[in-house]
Every structure is written in C-alpha cells, then in structure tokens.
C-alpha cells in the first residue's frame, strides 16, 4: 500500500502545489508555448496517477513488476495472470472509468464548441461580408477567409474548424492602422494554425471533469493567457511588436468598459507589457528540456506504482 500512499501524495502535489507554484513563476510569460505544455503535462499526469490509484484500490495485492506487460497492466489495459473474466473486468473498470471520464468531457466540450461555432457561422452568413475592400486583410492571412461585420464595437476573433475564418467588425477596422491590422490578423492566424482551440477544449474538459480542483481552475485561466501570448509571439516574428501592442490598446479602448468584465482581470495588460518590453526567452535547450519534462510527466506516477516502494 506504500505505492498507493505515494500516489495520493503525488496527486496532492500535482493537483494543488504545482499549479500554485507555476502560477507564481515568471518564466511562463517568457516561454508561453513551453508553459502550455507543462500545464498539459500536469493534467495528464494527474489523470494517470488517479487511474493508478483506482487500479491499486481494486487490486492492492498484485505485483506489477513485469516489464511492458506490467506497465500496460498498471494502466488497466492488459491483464496478467489467470483472472476470470468477471474478476478481470471488475479490476479494469475503475481505472478505465477514471481515464474515460475526462476523455468523455473532452468529446463533449469539442462537440458543444462545434455546435456553437456552426450556429454562429450560420448567423455570420446572414450579415458578414467578405473582407474584399480591405484587401490588406486577405493578403496578410493567406488562405483563411476574413469577413467583416457591420458593428461599431471593435472586435476581432477567429473560428477554427473546417470552415475556419477570421471575423473583423467595422469598429475594429476603424480603429486599427493597416500595420496594426496585419499584426492582429497574424495573431488570429497563429491561433488557427496552432490549433489552439483543441488545447483550450482539453483544459476546459479537465476543469469540468474535476470541478473544484485547483489544477483545473488555474490551468483554465493560465493556458488561455499563455495561448494569447504564444499567438502574439508568433505574430511579431513577421510584424511589428509595437503595432500589435498598439492594436491591443486601440481595441481595448474601443470596447465598452466592463464588457464581460473578468473577476481575475484580463491578461491584456501583461501582453502589452511583454510586447513593449520584451525579455529574452529561455535558451532553446531549456525549452526542449521543459517540453521533454512535460512529455514525461504523465509517466511519473508509474514510478510510484512500479518503483521499489511500489505494490
């Protein structure tokens, strides 16, 4: 049972302590892409550990040191030894349920987002016009369709998916200079090509699957901000950072104050600050190491299950 105790400790570490530390760290803003990977790694690791705890609870006596088979066994994927069918399914069900629960949420969140998107697209079809006159827009975004909606409040957003497009309001076109507009479009384009909506949906699914868990709540807020920063970074590779910061300022000034005011504050101030006062990002090797650590994190719980103190 020491393995189970270790796993529970690990769950507390990943579910409570790690998010608090990561939120306070300053490096994520300098390497937003890597930081997103770390949040995803933590969430996956949490689910793996929870699955292993479920497995240990139903089968505390079984020894797990049997190489690859044991490894799969620990996931509840393969069963070693001559368990009867009913016993086997009884042992597999709890861990499978633990893994299936957030996966099911992921599917549900993706479906709901898709439905909301199609509904919105249908509405757009009635009032949006192709951004033809604003030729600058179409050139800058390549093959993604940009459309304009006659609405005074400045807003720019993109709809991912098969019928992906970038939506600009007349209000946004009025307040943005051509240079700022190009930077904004590059930002939205980065969201689309980076498939950021899939990451947002995964985080949303995790937060809904484990309501009240600090890891989910923190990841929801932080990854949303980090993805914006990642898209900003992508945009300023080919466009002026000053123009992008100016665009943020112009759109912010045009939004009705307090529109959907976030209690936690919006990350826009931090985005402007890092665009105007860029800090050097971590060395590439550090970023690779962080990404590798994030990729390995989901496997760490197996150390508790299969390590010397395990089982």
């Amino acid at each position: 049972m020491t393995g189970t105790a270790g796993l529970v400790g690990y769950l507390l570490l990943v579910g409570l302590v790690a998010p608090a530390l990561l939120r306070r760290a300053s490096w994520p803003q300098r390497a937003p892409g890597s930081a997103v990977l770390v949040w995803l790694g933590l969430m996956l690791s949490f689910v793996t550990a929870l699955g292993l705890v479920a497995h240990h609870l139903v089968e505390p006596e079984r020894h797990l040191h049997t190489g690859l088979l044991g490894f799969l066994h620990a996931c509840g994927l393969v069963h070693v030894g001559g368990l009867g069918l009913s016993a086997a399914s009884a042992a597999v069900l709890p861990p499978a349920a633990v893994l299936g629960w957030p996966l099911g949420w992921y599917g549900a969140v993706l479906l709901r987002a898709r439905r909301a998107r199609l509904e919105h697209l249908a509405g757009l079809e009635l009032v949006a016009r192709p951004a033809g006159a604003e030729a600058v827009a179409t050139v800058a975004v390549g093959r993604v369709r940009a459309v304009v909606v006659e609405h005074g409040v400045p807003a720019v957003y993109c709809l991912p998916g098969r019928r992906r497009r970038i939506v600009l309001t007349r209000g946004a076109l009025d307040v943005l200079s051509p240079e700022q507009l190009r930077a904004v479009l590059a930002h939205e384009h980065a969201h689309l090509t980076g498939r950021h909506h899939l990451v947002r949906a995964a985080v949303e699914a995790f937060a809904r699957a484990f309501p009240g868990l600090p890891l989910g709540a923190a990841a929801r807020v932080e990854t949303a901000a980090l993805l914006e920063m990642a898209a900003d970074d992508r945009a300023v590779r080919r466009h002026s950072a000053r123009a992008l910061a100016g665009a943020l300022g112009a759109v912010a000034a045009g939004l009705a104050p307090g529109v959907g005011l976030a209690a936690a504050g919006s990350p826009v101030v931090a985005r402007v600050r890092r665009l105007l006062l860029p800090a050097r990002g971590p060395h590439r090797l550090v970023r690779v190491a962080v990404a590798a650590a994030a990729a390995v994190a989901p496997l760490v719980p197996f150390l508790f299950a299969c390590g010397p103190t395990g089982a």
Binding site: A113, P160, G249, V259, A262, G265, V268, L277
Partner: protein, 123 residues
C-alpha cells in the same frame, strides 16, 4: 448547387434592404436578375427563416407576405453580443483578440503605450 445558407443570406439581404413586406415571387424575381433560382427553393428557405424566427409572415390573398422580425443592425448586434459574451462553450469555440477588459486596465495599457513610444521593435 449553392449552399442553403447562401440563399438564406440573399433573401434576408433583400428583405432588410427593401424595408417592407414582400412575397416569395418578388424575392425570386429579384434573385433571378443575377442567377436562376427555383420558386419552390426560395419558398422552402423562406419557410426555414420563418421557422428560425428571422421572418414573420402574413397571408395576403393566396400568397404569404414575408418581413424580417428585426432590423439588420439589431440582428448583427445580437450576434456580436453573443460572440463577445462570456459563455464557456463560446470561449472554446471562438478565439478573441481581446475578450474582456475593464476601464482601469484599458487606462493602464494607454499609459504603457505612451511611456514606451518606441518600445517593442528591435532597431
């Protein structure tokens, strides 16, 4: 074949611009000036728009007179309100350049931009 949504847009566009009730025949004739379209197709799509609550209708003789339930501006405003709204489903669906901001934050951003007139770009 064109998508149904496009025809919906063409019908709404005309009724919004005309600003008066019109029959399916009038809409068909007007679309036919650009391209051929079948009367029954337009009738079906007008019925769909009625079902969606975008059009209201009134019998005049043997034909229905259709009219938008709201102005184009009101429809656009509602659509944008929905896009800028705070629904979680929506947030996963759309990626906003800026989703929400307080007046204080907008002011901080304005000051930052003033204080760093040349900030950001490498020389």
């Amino acid at each position: 074949m064109r998508r149904l949504g496009e025809l919906e847009a063409e019908i709404m566009d005309r009724l919004w611009s005309w600003g008066r009730p019109a029959t399916v025949r009038e809409v068909v004739d007007d679309i036919n000036r650009d391209r051929p379209v079948a009367y029954t197709t337009v009738m079906t799509v007008a019925d769909i728009l009625y079902g969606k609550g975008l059009l209201r209708r009134e019998k005049q003789g043997r034909a229905w007179l259709y009219e938008p339930t709201g102005s184009r501006e009101a429809y656009t405003a509602a659509l944008m309100q929905e896009a800028l709204g705070a629904s979680q489903d929506r947030s996963a669906a759309l990626a906003h350049f800026i989703r929400e901001i307080s007046a204080d934050e907008a002011e901080v951003i304005r000051r930052l931009l003033d204080e760093h007139p040349a900030g950001g770009d490498r020389p």
